[in-house]
Structure formats: C-alpha cells, structure tokens
C-alpha cells in the first residue's frame, strides 16, 4: 500500500511538472532571461510593435527625434549587415541618439543597436545591424536616413 501511495505521489509531481514547464519557458522568453535548460531563440517580425510606444512617445520618436537626428547626421557607412550613422559627439546629440535608440529597440526589437563614442574626441556613431533582412528593412524603411 505504501508503495502505491509513493508511486501516486511521484506521478502527481511529474504531471505537475508537465503542466508548468511550458509556462516557465514562456516566462523566461518573455522576460528575455537566459533559459536555464533549453536555449530558446526568439526573433521578432520585421514589423512595428504597436504596443511598444504610447501615442505621445510615437510622436516624439517619429516626428521630433527622427527628423532632428537626420538633420544632425554627418555621414552614413554601409555595413554588411546594416548601416552606421555619424553624429557630432556633443552631449545634447548623445542624449538625443540614446533617447531615440531606447525607443527604437522597443518598436523594432530585431535591431542590434550600438552607440559608440570614438576615441580621441572622435565622432558619435549609431550602428543599426541585425539578422538577415535587417539591412533590407533599413533600406526600405529609412531612405531618408541612408541617403548621403
């Protein structure tokens, strides 16, 4: 009889584990944590996440920050997997670039965004790269950004 109770208890615990595992996995992916047991690759679509920014943030991002940064941009470098944009390295521009970047990564999470201050007082670089298709996406989306 004891064997029966022990076996039933083990079965219940294992079935509970069955029920929990997918949710644990989903949670770890959603929180962008490192899954402990299974490596889960997540790729966002080449699309805009409508829930990422509020209407006010969208206005700021698309109607204020974007045009301002495009007017400040000094040059564009084409890379194998994206583009790099040169800006003056003053504090105000740095703040604008990082504000734009933090919003852009919410709206378009497939971008690798790299903000770099070059040594010896060099310029500020904003690098946008990503998986295959990202460069084409920038080309299609940002003709105003990449035209010299």
């Amino acid at each position: 009889m004891n064997v029966l109770i022990t076996a039933a208890a083990i079965a219940v615990m294992e079935l509970a584990a069955c029920a929990c595992t997918p949710f644990a996995l989903l949670e770890s992916v959603g929180a962008q944590q490192q899954p402990s047991a299974v490596q889960v690759k997540r790729e966002s679509p080449f699309a805009c996440d409508t829930k990422a920014l509020t209407a006010q943030q969208r206005k700021r991002h698309f109607e204020e920050l974007g045009p301002t940064l495009r007017s400040l941009r000094r040059s564009v470098r084409e890379l194998a997997d994206g583009y790099e944009f040169e800006f003056p390295a003053d504090e105000k521009t740095f703040q604008l670039v990082t504000e734009w970047a933090i919003q852009e990564r919410l709206c378009c999470p497939f971008f690798d965004i790299n903000v770099r201050l070059e040594c010896e007082g060099g310029p500020l670089w904003l690098r946008l790269t990503g998986r295959e298709g990202t460069k084409d996406f920038i080309k299609a989306k940002g003709t105003d950004w990449i035209k010299q």
Partner: protein, 184 residues
C-alpha cells in the same frame, strides 16, 4: 485490484517525462519559428465583419466586398515598413483589379484622420483606405504588429495572414494563391 491500480500508476510515471518532453518541444518549435511569415489558415475562418468610415466619410462594411478576393491590410502612417507596403499595394491594386482583387487598407492611426488623408494623397494610394479603431484591430487578433495583412476569399473566409514585411514577391505570391483559390 491493487495490482491493476499499481500498473496504471506505473504507466503514468513512465509516460509523464515523455509527455513533458514532447509538450516542451512543441512549445519550443512554436517559439523558434516566431518570425511570422505568411500563414495559411486551415480550416478557413470567417473574417470578422466591421463597419468603418472611408476618408470621405462613407460607411463601408466588410460584407460589401462579398464576392471579391480581398487583401485587407492593417497599417499606420507612423509605421515605416507599412509605407513600403503601401507602394506595393497600389501596384497590386492596379495590376490585379481586373482579376477580381480588391485592396483595402485599414489605418490604425490614433490621431487626426487628416494625417491619414494627407499620407494617402502623398503616397498616391489608389485603393480604399478606411479609418480603423481598436475594436476592429481586436476582432482581427489584436493586430499588435504592423503591417498585418489578411487574405480573404470571395466567401469572406481568411485564407492566409501575414505579419510584418517580407518581400514584394512573397506578397504577390500570396495574392496569386488567393486568386487561384477563388477559381478552385
């Protein structure tokens, strides 16, 4: 009797890890293929009806398009990939209209409708643009990501959906599939 119960419990113990592994694998496959492409719907679901206004203020319903193959595109003026698709949609609308295709764009902008009208004029949009709202977006699954396109048969069934931008060729292939299914 006890032996029978013991056998059932033993079987459950043996199978539980297998079920666990299989279930986890299903979820992982689902997540790793999270780059939405064009997804063919099987079985076909009925496209939710709606009642929306055109830029001119005319009321249009989805059911008005019954009998026509329909490309229903959710977009917004601030969504830059949507801008790219807008050009494609105008091209497809011109090329496939005489083959029975109707293109309808539902704007999910949350501001002044004039912004949508100005955009449509600037982009020389040659297809019908409707002013959407949250309710219609929710009826079509939330439309969290834009652009999002539903390929609807003349019977009002969703034959395929597409989330995000792929290539113009991919889009055109989906249109051809839709028109092909119309003749089957």
């Amino acid at each position: 009797m006890n032996r029978r119960i013991l056998r059932v419990v033993s079987a459950a113990i043996t199978l539980a890890p297998v079920i666990n592994l299989a279930w986890s694998s299903i979820r992982i496959v689902g997540m790793t293929s999270a780059v939405p492409n064009t997804v063919v719907s099987r079985p076909l679901k009925t496209a939710p009806d709606f009642e929306l206004q055109t830029l001119a203020g005319r009321v249009v319903r989805l059911s008005d398009f019954r009998g026509q193959a329909l490309v229903l595109n959710f977009w917004a003026t601030w969504c830059t990939p949507c801008r790219v698709e807008t050009r494609w949609l105008s091209d497809f609308s011109a090329r496939y209209k005489d083959k029975g295709l109707e293109v309808v764009g539902i704007s999910l902008d949350d501001g002044n409708p004039q912004v949508v009208a100005d955009f449509a004029r600037e982009m020389k949009v040659n297809y019908l643009v409707l002013l959407g709202n949250q309710q219609v977006g929710d009826a079509y699954g939330g439309t969290r990501f834009l652009p999002q396109t539903f390929f609807i048969t003349p019977e009002g069934k969703i034959s395929a959906t597409s989330v995000g931008i792929k290539t113009k060729d991919d889009f055109e292939n989906s249109i051809r599939q839709l028109l092909k299914s119309e003749h089957q």
